[in-house]
Symmetry: C2
Subunit: 451 residues, 2 copies
Amino acid sequence: MSFRFEIEAREDKARAGRFFTPHGEVQTPVFMPVGTVATVKGVPQDVLEELGVQILLNNTYHLYLRPGVEMVRKLGGVQKFMAWDHPILTDSGGFQVFSLSDLRKVTEEGVMFRSHLDGSSHFFSPESAIAAQIGLGADIIMAFDECTEHPAEYARTQRSMEMTLRWAERSKKYFEEHKHEVPWFRGLKPAGHSGEVRDSAAEAAPLRSQLPRPSPKEGLEPGTLESDDSSGSFPREKSSLTQAEGQTQTLFGIVQGGMFPDLRRESAQRTVELDFPGYAIGGLSVGEPRPMTYEMVDNAIRYLPEDKPRYLMGVGTPEEIVHYVAQGVDMMDCVLPTRAARHGLLFTSEGRITIKNARFAADEGPLDPACGCKVCARYSRAYLRHLYSSNELLAQVLNTVHNLAYYLDTMRKVRQAIQLRKFASFLAGVRPPHRVSESTLSRHGSESPEI
Amino acid sequence: MSFRFEIEAREDKARAGRFFTPHGEVQTPVFMPVGTVATVKGVPQDVLEELGVQILLNNTYHLYLRPGVEMVRKLGGVQKFMAWDHPILTDSGGFQVFSLSDLRKVTEEGVMFRSHLDGSSHFFSPESAIAAQIGLGADIIMAFDECTEHPAEYARTQRSMEMTLRWAERSKKYFEEHKHEVPWFRGLKPAGHSGEVRDSAAEAAPLRSQLPRPSPKEGLEPGTLESDDSSGSFPREKSSLTQAEGQTQTLFGIVQGGMFPDLRRESAQRTVELDFPGYAIGGLSVGEPRPMTYEMVDNAIRYLPEDKPRYLMGVGTPEEIVHYVAQGVDMMDCVLPTRAARHGLLFTSEGRITIKNARFAADEGPLDPACGCKVCARYSRAYLRHLYSSNELLAQVLNTVHNLAYYLDTMRKVRQAIQLRKFASFLAGVRPPHRVSESTLSRHGSESPEI
């Protein structure tokens, strides 16, 4: 298997664990910062590492348009392209096609859309969206889905959900037939063995001459790699991890079903029948009231298998992500910490701060006295306020670093609390989730180019 | 003395040495990056430290307008304000008043000008410009001068030079009477003793009760601090360094004289008569051909004292700064590395690179194979090109880090070459200085707000 998920601790519905990908291990629950065009806006990769970012989300739609899938493939995949030797997840492009593209035409076959960059015409089908994601080479990729608009009638939502299910099947079929085309197919580190050097001999050898690996680590038995040209898949003799087994991507399915509990249930059940190694819940946080989001999450998760990760797409505030963990969510992504930072909205242990506020002009204290990030350790609110008021680049850099630190610290505490079976009291201490003023902040899924 | 300059090695006219300020030591020749509003655009202070930045330039005009001198004073001075516990130099504001202000009216008394931010009216005299610089609290501050426009007639240049000389005298007089008003006046580290902790007892004690320091380091004798209310200056019993001696700023004079060798000579000689601890050469690199710049530098430097630092303001390309060192210059500043970076123009050991060029789209190599900076160590030209083409914040951050590394490495090599008496051969290996295409880059002195 290219992917393995282990649950290490549970408390009520919340779980703490880890999953293994070809580019390393990820502890869950995990928050994934959004690096739309293979960069978290303004933050160098070494700073992301210092922050403890475990996995990034890149947007397929944006990278498909620029620099293009073939370019990224040629450069070794998105990890090598952006010099991030850690896990990456790409979305399917569906959400951006629906939210960013000026003109689009949806048929059973796929979606015709126009680039938001230059108006050029493009077509995404489940097959071409998966092909793009294989070319980009993220560790986890997503089935092509239709993100049902909100609000939507029942019949419309049901038709959309049915199409997403058919697209999920096509996505999976294309992926199974082509997954060996991922740019880093040969000679990668095995899953869960970060730090193991690449086997350059294996890299040079033709695939079908590859032999079972000697000397597996941690007592795992080597498997036998048998190339099967007819299917492109690699049957394994044993289910244990082998060097060969970290070599392909992992495809997640996506649950849709709008704001209807029975459709969420049906979407979850039928997506699970298709058998994915992980399941996302999409189409939420699209404008609905938060209690409805919780209800829909619950109506999906209760039908998802216990032993597979659940990924809630495009959420949320620092308080909300804790509550989603309580519902059994393992993975989340959101542009909120990064986009809010660029708008001067900062998350702190004392609540939200709008840094341009004049009351911070002479404030010598740190942004968040309880935060250990390099921004809070060095700079005053007065200085951060000055940078933001002066429209300085460094404001966006420092604000983003802090907000990411806040999200990542939150998830670190969440993981620790679950492991210590103290999550219930941790959750009780989290302020009731409320919605920030999100006029410019609410669009999730990918970072906007304008700021 | 608050300032001490030591020459350690000479080769022909070039000198290598160091100077000591209340916030630390600086090895010369030194290039000072420009941090206009108390930030080097896009680069966090810890990265500046990693790069080996020794001293920053801040622009008085900009900080005077925003956040304002009183705010910076209240926050402890610009070093504390921007969390940069190292030397800072501020310019006098004169250059910006002349280059950025829409309306200005110059009289013997000073300059009436309008803010480029909001059109509000302000007045800088030698006295108020020095008062502003004392309030900001940089380690080295500059006399208020008129930067003569180019081209200018002889008579006009002479009149301007004469006024600058009168303004220099007024600047010095005001400084001597008010230098103890610097925000960090009490309890600072002594010059040249970076790492020594502040004496909080001394900070708390009224000035006139301060006693001679016990236990001086490195065999230096303690001096006696005698407060003298009538002059604000502090006579010392001995000329050795004491804790008290790092407590005021240092005021440099500025040589003007336009493009006339005899006026440069006269300006230098008469500025030296006013007796400053360091001398700047201003009014150059303002559009004149480069050979004329060299001629003017030479006509100033030959009349400046050997034992005082010479600061050539607002220069230059990487090749030029080496040639200015050969003329005997010890300090330089320029927006070129930072501004060029934000326009995608990168300096490398293989020449200039315009990173948006399509030929870099698939280039997996580092920006500069000979560079050890963190950008060249991690990222490919392809990725940097993608970031720039996508108008990503990270492009500006990474490009700036590299260009600063290139300038600072150049100066490091220059210092080493002089110390090893190999500067002549180093100089011979530097490409002949040529002018970059500077349509958007030529304005020096301060960073523009627009990018």
